[in-house]
């Protein structure tokens, strides 16, 4: 039941004791995964064994991964540890985040797309826009995610180095959240992904921890550096940009409030909005292992220590940008929630009917009927997906009316003297 209320788009219902999902409303945010006390909602993830078919496997950990281990454990050591637990190689993604930041700057300087431009890197935000704010699709910045850019480059490099075919190399992303996984299985746009699988950080964490226990923490591997290290926390993207009037928003409630304002024609003087569905951004993803605030502290320390030295040559990235190296492949199209009815007249009638039903409901959103709110229940009844008597309050009311009527009949008959106390006989 807890999951019902956690869903920001009211996509869940409980029917026959089981949670079910209304696919057109779901934005893959993972709130239900996080909330379910019995862990009954589990995203479809990959495991190691799924990747035995590849000749060479490469792990691409989200930079969140670096924040999951105690201080003193350097990102480069973590990458080395991954190579000892079953991956043939491991590459850093933070550096790709830095390149993408430079590409965003170039785009901001040259594009006349509607402002504010919105970051497309949180798949839940992209879904939210497609489903609830189709007007804002054109505000999404058409640049590929660091995850995809890194995967593409790793494949290119490995094909060259090892003389392998693309399908022989398995590039696996270590993700902090389920939305990245769903983005791969069911992408918001039709395109080819360079990723072959996604593994939750929470799954890979214990093995990595064990490997790190035996690792040489002063291994002399080159330091991972650059502002890209800060991407997993709120404001991390904005910190990489020189652009003024760039802001960061996190948490779906706040994001939706701001999107409403943009639809109302506000915030046009803001150039760029970094958006995260999780209130603590990616370090707070539901598939992480560490407390998000501790993780955030570690990210801040990494940025303070190693952020100031860039890992990329800005001019080189600019050249690549001009060659469309970072351009989004495919287009993101609106995919709004199904309307009340395909026909607008019937839709209005259903809206009225919903209103009438809603008026009879207790309006306390108890959830006993299996819908998250009285209003969504009224809508389910109008759509024929639920029966009005599934509301316990309505049923109680019906019983009350019935018993009152019965009492009424009995009293009337008693007054007429037809029913004699103690002598239960009726005259006809």
């Amino acid at each position: 039941m807890k999951c019902l209320r956690s869903c920001p788009t009211q996509a869940l219902r409980v029917r026959g004791g089981k949670a079910m999902l209304l696919g057109d409303r779901c934005i893959d945010c993972g709130e239900c995964v996080r909330t379910c006390p019995s862990h009954a909602i589990v995203p479809q993830t990959s495991t190691f064994s799924d990747f035995s078919g590849f000749k060479h496997t490469v792990a691409l950990p989200s930079p969140v991964f670096y924040s999951q281990f105690g201080k003193g454990v350097r990102p480069s050591t973590i990458l080395s540890a991954l190579k000892t637990i079953g991956f043939d190689d491991a590459y850093d993604v933070a550096c790709a985040s830095e390149s993408v930041s430079i590409a965003i700057e170039e785009y901001l300087a040259s594009s006349d797309s509607p402002r504010p431009l919105i970051s497309p890197f949180c798949p839940t935000i992209v879904r939210l826009i497609q489903v609830r704010y189709p007007n804002l699709v054109d505000n999404l910045i058409p640049i590929e995610s660091p995850m995809e850019i890194a995967a593409r480059e790793v494949k290119r490099l490995k094909m060259h180095q090892l003389g392998l075919q693309e399908h022989e190399i398995g590039v696996l992303y270590l993700t902090p959240c389920p939305s990245k996984m769903i983005a791969l299985k069911n992408p918001p746009r039709k395109k080819h992904s360079f990723l072959d699988g996604i593994i939750p950080i929470s799954e890979i964490y214990p093995k990595t921890l064990q490997a790190l226990a035996h690792a040489d923490l002063t291994d002399g591997e080159p330091e991972i550096r650059g502002l890209g290290l800060g991407w997993p926390i709120v404001g991390g993207q904005v910190a990489c940009l020189k652009a003024e009037d760039a802001i960061a928003i996190a948490g779906l409630t706040d994001v939706m409030r701001v999107f409403d304002e943009i639809e109302n024609g506000k915030l046009q003087d803001v150039q760029y909005i970094e958006c995260h569905s999780c209130p603590t951004a990616c370090v707070g993803g539901s598939l992480t292992a560490e407390n998000p605030y501790i993780a955030r502290g570690r990210v801040l320390r990494m940025v303070a220590n190693h952020g100031s030295v860039p890992c990329q040559d800005r001019e080189k990235i600019r050249e690549l940008y001009k060659k469309n190296f970072f351009s989004l492949i495919g287009t993101i199209s609106p995919n709004p929630v199904h309307p009340l009815d395909e026909d607008i007249s019937r839709g209005i009638q259903k809206m009225q009917r919903r209103h009438q039903i809603y008026d009879m409901l207790p309006k306390i959103d108890c959830g006993a009927c299996g819908a998250p709110t009285c209003l969504t229940f009224a809508e389910d009844v109008v759509k024929g997906d639920a029966d009005a008597d599934e509301c316990v309050f309505l049923t109680m009311k019906t019983f009350e009316t019935m018993s009152a009527n019965l009492l009424d009949v009995v009293t009337k008959h008693t007054k007429k003297g037809s029913v004699h106390p103690g002598k239960y006989t009726y005259d006809s």
């Binding site: 007007n135 409403d260 109302n264 929630v337 309307p339 839709g347 209005i348």
Partner: protein, 145 residues
């Protein structure tokens, strides 16, 4: 008429003056209704902007207003009836950039003088009736189908 009545949704809202935090709530509510009916995003956007500007005008200048929304399969009509100072010159108020906002309000980012012109630009029909010292009544219609 009876068939027509069966396909009309009528909602009323109240807006209180000076309640800046609430500005935009009616707009959001109307947007939600239109999206539920599957109205084209571009039309939803126009209605949202017109309603938001009207709301801001009430919040900034009037004491309160009643908003009546009449939704039919073809149009959405919004009537904003406020108790407020009225508009001295509608002709001037309809000019882009003209505003009676105080310098302080402008410093805070309000009163760009785009409110009424913006409503007109986004509406299919727009009527304004005003009485100085009493209030202003806007009637905004947008074709939705």
């Amino acid at each position: 008429m009876a068939a027509e009545a069966g396909q009309t949704v009528c909602e009323t809202f109240l807006i209180e003056g000076k309640e800046f935090f609430d500005a935009g709530k009616v707009s959001t509510e109307i947007k939600r209704m239109l999206k539920e009916l599957g109205v084209q995003p571009e039309i939803v956007r126009r209605v949202a902007i017109a309603m938001y500007e009207a709301e801001m005008n009430v919040v900034m200048y009037a004491s309160r207003a009643t908003v009546t929304v009449v939704l039919t399969p073809k149009t959405i009509k919004i009537i904003v009836d406020d108790e407020g100072p009225g508009i001295m010159s509608v002709e001037l108020a309809m000019q882009e950039g003209y505003s009676t906002a105080t310098p302080r309000m402008r410093e805070l980012g309000f009163g760009a003088g785009m409110g009424l012109p913006n409503i007109k630009k986004n509406a299919d029909t727009f009527e304004i009736n005003t009485a100085v010292g009493k209030g202003t009544r806007l009637e905004i219609t947008v074709c939705i189908n």
